[in-house]
């Protein structure tokens, strides 16, 4: 798993911190952002293999991030997490080429497994 680049975008700082903590232990290169603009700037410079993003954010939201990532790197997998878990958001997310969808509270083990699957598929 070494060397894969994972990007986490969530306006809750702890989400990024904890995901980074758990994923770095697996050998991933992890970068965290609290909103979408600087994250998308960074993506222009470096390709990430998986982007984990919050669905609902101020400014650019998760669906917009998905669109921009896919236009830059069609092979990059996007995983959504959200506190607003309802059927509508899930359906919208999955329709739009999202690899996986996690309602909060996030099970870190499941997130790790999902990322592994995503990388294998790539």
């Amino acid at each position: 798993m070494d060397g894969y680049r994972i990007m986490i975008i969530d306006d809750e700082k702890i989400v990024g911190d904890m995901a980074k903590m758990a994923l770095e232990k697996e050998g991933y290169l992890v970068e965290t952002f609290m909103n979408a603009e600087p994250a998308l700037e960074r993506l222009k410079a470096v390709k990430f293999d998986v982007v984990v993003t919050d669905f609902k954010m101020k400014g650019i939201d998760g669906m917009e991030v998905l669109k921009r990532v896919k236009s830059l790197y069609p092979g990059t997998k996007v995983i959504m997490i959200t506190a607003f878990a309802n059927l509508d958001t899930a359906i919208e997310a999955l329709r739009g080429d999202v690899y996986d969808f996690f309602p909060k509270p996030v099970k870190i083990k499941e997130l790790k497994a999902s990322i592994q699957r995503a990388l294998k598929k790539a």
């Binding site: 809750e12 702890i14 989400v15 904890m18 995901a19 903590m21 758990a22 232990k25 609902k56 506190a83 607003f84 878990a85 909060k104 509270p105 996030v106 099970k107 870190i108 083990k109």
Partner: protein
């Protein structure tokens, strides 16, 4: 006195007055009629007297004795005809005048008789005859004239009395009617004022009831209603609060999910990596749990604060802080509906003297209404400004929603008025209005269809 009685009384007095005038006029007519009948008879009598005097003249000119017979004959006929219409004549000129007239006729007849029985020509008797004839005619002419004058006088008097009576009736109906109307209207105004104050939520009462009529019972009923409403206001505020609490809870539940997720993720890492973490790391993670717990506590406390029933408890407060508190409470409601929030809070606005939770409730009401009026992507702006140089502190809540139809605007703050159909209780705005009024402030609304609505609250700046 009851209004009903007042009106009946004024009718009766008017009718009585008209009846009196009628009786008076009828009486006058009768008098005039008798006098006219007399004048008619008088004309005939006058003609007879004239004929008598002509015959008398014939006698003096031609010394024709048959002329004397003619006069005598005429006197008899006249006396007879007087006898026939004696009643009418008595009614017109009275007993005395009539007997005087008869007396004159008889002495005239006697004078003729004397001349006839005296074969010699007597200058003295002739002069007497002439004088009697003269007297009779003069007297009758006099009576007739007096009667004519009295008829004129009666007609003139009737005219005057009628004119004055009509004037009195006119004045009575105008001013009497106005007096009654004024008393009724005054009571109605009282009732109107009471109704307006109740609808504005200030639950006044009319302490001294000025009348004892039907209006008084209405006022008493409204006083009772005002009392009851006042007693129930707290209840209504509380029930409305609980209604908006339902909507808030949905938002708050989502808001709780973030710190819960944070705690969960920290705990998962803590358990998973316990052995590989040093002491410092472990403590750091537990601090995070502690912080997130505080965050949850704050959210729950805000919600409970809002739900708690409270008597108005005025305190000096920074309105910007109150606005921020409400916005925090509602952030997720806004997020769910995808509403963009623009806050423009002037940090220099002076403090206000308010019951924090009550003003929060007003803001929650306004924001919930705004959210319901907008489709996703709408913009909610909250502004504070003013309050300097004795002016009011102003809080503006604007949305870019569908707007309120112009014809509804005057009723927006009325109790039970709702544009939301079965969903709304129609109490939110009226309670907000009541709360702002209790703070000696004002609230008003401007709205343009399809452009949006702005609610403007003015609160007096706090003076130490």
């Amino acid at each position: 006195m009851k209004i009903e009685h007042k009106i009946i009384l004024s009718y009766i007095s008017n009718i009585a007055l008209i009846l009196l005038i009628g009786i008076f006029s009828l009486n006058n007519m009768n008098i005039v009629l008798t006098k006219f009948r007399f004048v008619e008879i008088a004309d005939d009598l006058n003609a007879s007297f004239l004929e008598m005097r002509i015959s008398e003249k014939n006698y003096f000119l031609y010394k024709d004795r048959t002329a004397l017979d003619e006069i005598e004959n005429k006197i008899n006929i006249t006396l007879e005809s007087i006898g026939a219409v004696e009643k009418d004549i008595t009614a017109a000129i009275g007993e005395n005048n009539l007997s005087q007239l008869k007396e004159y006729l008889k002495s005239y007849a006697a004078a003729i008789e004397q001349i006839r029985s005296n074969t010699r020509k007597s200058v003295r008797l002739e002069a007497k005859l002439r004088a009697e004839g003269q007297k009779l005619r003069e007297y009758f002419k006099n009576i007739t004239q007096i009667e004519r004058r009295s008829v004129n006088a009666i007609i003139l008097k009737s005219k005057k009395v009628l004119f004055i009576s009509f004037l009195v009736i006119l004045l009575l109906s105008v001013f009497g009617g106005r007096f009654i109307a004024k008393k009724i209207v005054a009571s109605m105004r009282d009732i109107e004022g009471l109704a307006v104050s109740i609808s504005e939520g200030s639950f006044k009462k009319i302490e001294d009831i000025r009348t004892d009529d039907e209006c008084a019972s209405v006022i008493r009923a409204m006083n009772f209603m005002s009392d009851e409403l006042k007693n129930r206001e707290e209840e209504i505020i509380q029930s409305k609060k609980l209604a908006s609490l339902g909507i808030l809870t949905a938002g708050v539940a989502h808001e709780l999910r973030n710190p819960l997720n944070n705690i969960s993720m920290v705990a998962q890492n803590f358990l998973e990596m316990y052995d590989s973490l040093d002491r410092e790391h472990r403590i750091g993670l537990m601090h995070k749990v502690e912080e997130e717990t505080k965050r949850i506590e704050e959210i729950v406390k805000n919600l409970l604060d809002f739900a708690k029933p409270k008597v108005a408890n005025l305190e000096e407060a920074d309105i910007n802080r109150t606005v921020r508190k409400v916005v925090n409470l509602m952030q997720n409601t806004l997020d769910i509906s995808n509403i963009e929030l623009n806050l423009s809070l002037d940090p220099s606005v002076p403090h206000v003297f308010i019951d924090g939770p009550q003003i929060q409730q007003v803001l929650v009401n306004l924001i919930l209404n705004a959210v319901q009026a907008m489709s996703p992507g709408g913009k909610l702006s909250i502004k504070t400004y003013g309050g300097h140089e004795g002016g009011s502190v102003i809080i503006e809540v604007s949305d870019t929603g569908k707007g309120i139809p112009h014809e509804f605007l005057p009723y927006i703050f009325d109790p039970f008025f709702s544009t939301k159909g079965v969903e709304g209780t129609g109490l939110g705005m009226s309670i907000s209005y009541g709360i702002i009024r209790n703070h000696k402030g004002s609230i008003r609304v401007e709205s343009t269809i399809n452009e949006g609505t702005t609610f403007t609250i003015e609160l007096p700046a706090y003076k130490k």
